[in-house]
Point group: C2
């Protein structure tokens, strides 16, 4: 056996060692733990002020060329040596970062499904960044893997899958969760595809996916990515509320079969992106069940309604769905990404990626590897995203989330009632969640294009800088869209927004009347 | 036009508003900016101590059932109301998180390609978590989009693409970068596939991908995901050093064509996962060029050698590759994920995902949308991951990275020289980067399985808790693998590891001699 002397007593190696240790390597100050703490402390008041700023503001769009120049000015020009930390420059960078961003913490922000986070999650995320545990493997991130198991069970109380059969993974965004679910579905229904590819179906019915006309673009993209082809997408018609029209589903599936398609997967939405509409999962599951179709629910936005006793009914039948995407970074208010993908049947989750790699996957599972997720999720190195969610859930309990979700959805309903009383506004739906779509249609509009008018209003309102809202196509025509993600929004803010809409709209009309377009 | 009175003077609405504002919504203390600062400040000393702990330690594996129980004990049982912040519980959670994780900051950690981060990046990441700017769209994250452009140009100095033609995106991990590149390749070479699917090739040559026998599992997985099928993978043989054997490439491609395959993409590695080997990009690019094959380089691990004047030559010819994956969260020491994907030809980057979605993609590009990446990257909501990298680069300059990369690779070379002088150790390659693979083969090994012996040693060394190393299959047989990711590692640590290997090995031999297996 080798002994200490042979390993420690080698003079030549010690010399080599000194060469390695002293001449090169990074500047120690960069890695100094005390300086890290000081730099973090120095930036906290800036973040505190940012969070405390409830002023009504939208987005300040800076021309990219100008911002490029500002950013470059903050960079060192030194090429040869490591430049010491410069507190002023760092502060200037962070200030620029905060100021030029989407202002998710302001009541003027009503534009998208991004949320201001529960601030404590930012602290947890910093810990995650420092400890840097890649959580696809139990041995690399033990607590994150355990936390995933806990949150899976907590949330399954609201879903209702059979406790010993279901599973949940976390993954980097709703698009990846949707893709993973569709892969599992494809490989489950057509087990030869993974190895043989999609050629084998020439002459047979072709694998196809039925999706809502209102499905998120990540779902239709998935058909292109998976080699199925967008032409093999079967679009399910929607009703006025933006939900899949259940009465038309059987005939759509039949028509698909007649065109030589075998629909193996149906994707419904629990909260569409445009209107926040909920498809009738209960009935769709029954249809899917009779036809051996995998039912995937894209609940990226609306899955969070499951934690609310008041709103859970929107996902009635969810326990019958084969899989569910649920973004905690939307209405559970944690930093993005934090996407959850649930499977009713654990075994089928392994169908998504069939592969073995010696340096990561153990051939014989044990109590540790049983907690690994790498065989079930796309990523090899995966951020321990669950920690942001679990820590909040562990410390504050469900009510933190359910109260806020209830509140945001109530804001949308109240806003709708305000609009309904305004004759110049057209409400496009009864809000099912926290999204409200509408049009401003004053009588003076005359023969100006309704769609162009909404887009022009949206652009002017945003440019004015007080409110940030989005535009959306509803039944093929542009509309204005408000998303309530911030509980600081009051109805007075919404009314101020309407004023801004009216003001911009009237400006457009005045300009048009003076200089009519061709 | 509506006036102030109509919007502000509506009593009934004010009543509704009060109902909304006072009765429900989240507990304000949870969102209190001052408390956020205090909670963050309270946890910083814990992180400082963690970073300052240079003790030699590996991994403390806790049985999942025990950890589950510990974690559950830290959770509130309250269901009805929002529970106030509990500092003691929070501290206990963070302590448990840190202790049970992979100890990337310890010199005992030599096991995987995860790194201890430059601490300042953790601060930047916290800012990103709080400001929560999704960076697929310029309007949602202006500075991250500008920073991406800057870093693309900075790094292209080392790649050498034509400045006005190349592009770079960031994406959530090397696996997603590889998939995206292969998608762009597939859609570029077979433009009909996105819409029509892969059926159309029945009877023709089938699209196929040539990859190194040593390719990362994400690359072979991609063939399964994209519908091409793993059977349509052409495995390029490797030489003893773990590199693609260039002399065998032409015949491998010819043989593929004879089996009815059309190789449209070849994937080479700049730093294989197992040995850190670099394929000869220069020669592979010439072969690919003559055959209209897309050359993708998986430089997830070794792309970072480009920033080093000393080591850049390992990627000679990179400017001829069509695309390059480069993980900054490996050897540029930022929190994961932070993956960069470069394309030689900007236009081809749009081939990966062909789709339009009204609520996000603008029909008419302008100076702002020209900076959007959503059409080029998989994610819709994307973390502003570039900020961690750009801020470090801006403040400290290139030398921070190049010095550390040089240093880590030098550690591997020195360790190799130590091993070469030990007759009982077999060195499996001359390290090209910071990875070193070897076997312990003492004479006493007798007829004990060499492979089982290495695995058993690895498990015992790790279980002992002082060092964390990995095992790997080299040319089909298990070996020990060390990855130098921490500049605090000294040769004395490596020699201590060897002692631990010898000690564990001798134990195994003694036990075997006393109780030989069948």
């Amino acid at each position: 056996m080798l002994n200490d002397e042979r390993f420690y007593g080698h003079t030549a190696l010690i010399d080599e060692e000194h060469g390695v240790e002293t001449k090169e390597g990074p500047n120690p100050a960069i890695f100094d733990p005390q300086l890290f703490r000081e730099h973090a402390e120095a930036i906290l008041p800036t973040l505190e002020s940012h969070l405390a700023d409830h002023s009504i503001r939208g987005l300040k769009l800076v021309e990219p060329a100008i911002l490029l120049s500002l950013a470059k000015d903050l960079m060192t020009k030194e090429q040869g040596a490591v430049v010491p930390f410069d507190r002023e420059k760092f502060k200037a960078i962070i200030d620029l970062y905060i100021k030029t961003g989407i202002q998710v913490h302001s009541p003027g922000f009503m534009g998208r499904q991004f949320s201001g986070v529960v601030p404590l999650a930012g602290v947890v995320d910093m810990v995650s960044s420092i400890v840097n545990q890649p959580s696809s493997f139990y041995e690399a991130g033990q607590l994150p893997n355990v936390a995933e198991r806990i949150m899976a069970n907590e949330f399954n109380q609201f879903i209702g899958y059979q406790p010993d059969r279901f599973t949940m993974i976390t993954t980097s965004g709703g698009s990846l969760a949707n893709l993973t679910a569709l892969l599992a579905a494809r490989n489950d229904k057509f087990p030869t595809v993974w190895n043989e590819g999609l050629w084998a179906f020439e002459g047979q019915l072709r694998p196809a996916i039925a999706i809502s006309e209102e499905a998120h673009y990540s779902v239709s993209r998935a058909a292109g990515i998976l080699g199925i082809g967008e032409n093999q997408l079967v679009r399910l018609p929607i009703n006025q509320a933006g939900q899949i029209d259940i009465t038309k589903v059987p005939q759509a599936l039949e028509a698909a079969e007649q065109r030589g398609l075998k629909v193996f997967c149906m994707v419904a939405s629990a909260g569409t992106t445009s209107m926040g509409a909920f498809d009738d999962i209960d009935q769709l599951a029954d249809i899917a069940g009779t036809k051996d179709i995998w039912l995937h629910i894209d609940g990226a936005h609306g899955g969070s309604l499951l934690v609310s006793d008041e709103l859970r009914h929107k996902l009635k039948g969810i326990q019958k769905a084969d899989s569910l995407t649920w973004d905690a970074h939307k209405m559970l208010f944690v930093p993005s990404p934090c996407s959850l993908l649930f499977y009713r049947n654990k075994e089928k989750s392994y169908a998504a990626f069939k592969q073995v790699a010696s340096y990561v996957f153990e051939k014989e599972p044990n109590i540790y590897t049983e907690f690994d997720s790498a065989e079930k999720n796309f990523e090899c190195t995966k951020r321990p995203m669950i920690m942001n969610l679990w820590v909040l859930w562990a410390l504050h309990g469900r009510a933190l989330f359910s109260n806020k979700v209830d509140h945001l959805c109530k804001l949308a309903r109240h806003a709708c009632r305000i609009l309904e009383k305004e004759p110049d506004f057209q409400v496009l739906h009864q809000p099912e969640s926290n999204i409200l779509c509408f049009r401003y249609l004053p009588k003076e509009l005359d023969n100006y294009s309704i769609a162009d008018f909404q887009v022009e209003i949206r652009n002017r309102v945003c440019k004015h800088g007080q409110f940030f809202i989005s535009k959306v196509d509803i039944h093929g025509e542009s509309a204005l869209r408000v998303v309530f993600m911030n509980h600081e929004i009051k109805m007075s803010h919404f009314r101020m927004l309407l004023q801004a809409v009216v003001k911009s709209g009237q400006q457009v009309i005045n300009e048009y009347q003076q200089h009519p377009k061709q």
